[in-house]
Amino acid sequence: MAGRFAPPRYAAPPPRRPGGEEAARVVVAGGGLVGLTVALDLARRGVEVVLLDEDDTVSTGSRAICFAKRTLEIYGRLGLGAKFLDKGVTWNRGRVFHGEREAYAFDLLPEQGHEYPAFVNLQQYYAEAWLVEACAATGRVELRWRHKVTGVESREDGARLSVETPAGAYTLRAEWLLACDGARSFLRDSLGLPFLGQVFRDRFLIADVVMRADFPSERWFWFDPPFHPGQSVLLHKQPDDVWRIDFQLGWEADPEAEKDPARVRARVAAMLGPAIPFELEWVSVYTFRCRRMERFRHGRILFLGDAAHQVSPFGARGGNGGVQDADNLAWRLAAVLAGEAGEALLDGYEAERIPAADENILNSTRSTDFITPKNPAARAYRDAVLQLARRHAFARPLVNSGRLSRPWSGQQAAPDAPVMRDGRADWLLRHIGHDGRFALVAREAEPPALPGVSAVILSDAPRPGALWDHAGLAAARLGLAPGEAALFRPDQILAGRAPAADGAALAALHAKALAR
């Protein structure tokens, strides 16, 4: 079928001096979704980055697939938002089936007036390929494909990496090392850092299936469907006529036998019926784990994404959580490297992303407990909830087919809203953080000038240069009365509110956000 993805092959640069030593300010280990995102964010802030990846292409299979609204807003800030919207499959609605019947449906973004939807489905390889292009375009990210880290030593002044390439080995001294090398992180294990948590006794089969089908752009989840009795199934639409299907298999399933294409084809055929021809693009069998590192910062080495924390996939909290780690860290490290803040600013990364990871793990664990009941009582409660949900609204919020990724509840990301700017339709969020700086949004007031802070004026009536809040949604979602101002960090997180005229209070909020 037309328009299928052709995986790029990236050139492996030879070491500058095989057997020698090199130095870099910031090294990102791992060129997956999270490593590429943090590299791009840093580069856009003027930081030179060396990125190491042992492979020479993007990931295989749909993997992260569901990009949540907050993640899309981050990619909007990084200049890639339109690509996700254009290529990805937008969805806001989920349906849950029990047996042969629909148990209930839910809408994740019932309100209008946001540039990005609740979710976009997209194969992870597209996102990675765009990030690689965007990193290269900055001229500040040195992409070193097939450079494999084979040793790491943590030092007071950074990290010392042993790197192997097809053209010889070398030593790389990094002032800062960002470990984005995934759930099986070599760096984490080499440094002897524990990764503790829970393994769920269940197995799942993921299949990316190419077919022409007329299922709507919705998330469909089945408990105990007739075509896969006793287990659950999840269906998602992706671009290029690729559909992602997750089949629950149970703990007794043999992971190798389940990957046999004939067996997978039989499962898919049972689901689709005989009339729909299909081909398999990617098949994988996995077991859930929920675990995290005790600390994400170890001196000059910082861990992000799956290397730092792992969740079960229901809820789409793995990839989204990792991108939000990158979003949280990049501006901090850039500020430290620019001398605008001390290293204490980096402690805020952990202080925010550890509870965020715990929230993701909690939600993902609860979903898994519902989907994979641990004992007959758990199974009875699960089935009772599903039975009741068909007719009774009170039971529907108890149905847990995945609590879909939301930003960490401990902080407030800037809201989006439609605005008009000099007669043209625009979005509020495009004026917060998109220039890499703090943003001070003041309603019906001229905010004081603060160094490193961009002023944004929100007006109740059209005014040149201001954002006209024509629908009243911006002020309502920001919670700003006339004369009030809200300060946002470069990652669009609220730093605080104060009267727009109170320059001292606003300067104090700014200093506090920079851990000064």
Binding site: P376, D383, A384, A395, L398
Partner: protein
């Protein structure tokens, strides 16, 4: 401060007990378990107070662990 009421509150306890017995009549073990699960969920929603439920659950567990 306990919010769970453990004072006798039923005007006709025998009738309430009979209702429960009648509900399970003719059900096998699995169906009975499902009935109880639905009943707990319906009552939990009716109570609508997680603190009361937590106390009730703790009491139910404790009572099952006490000497007969």
């Amino acid at each position: 401060m306990s919010r769970l009421s453990t004072e006798p509150r039923l005007a006709d306890p025998d009738a309430v007990y009979a209702l429960l017995m009648e509900a399970h009549r003719g059900l096998d073990e699995a169906a009975s378990r499902m009935l109880d699960a639905r009943l707990v969920l319906i009552l939990a929603n009716h109570i609508g107070d997680a603190q009361v439920l937590a106390e009730a659950i703790a009491l139910a567990r404790r009572a099952g662990e006490e000497e007969p």
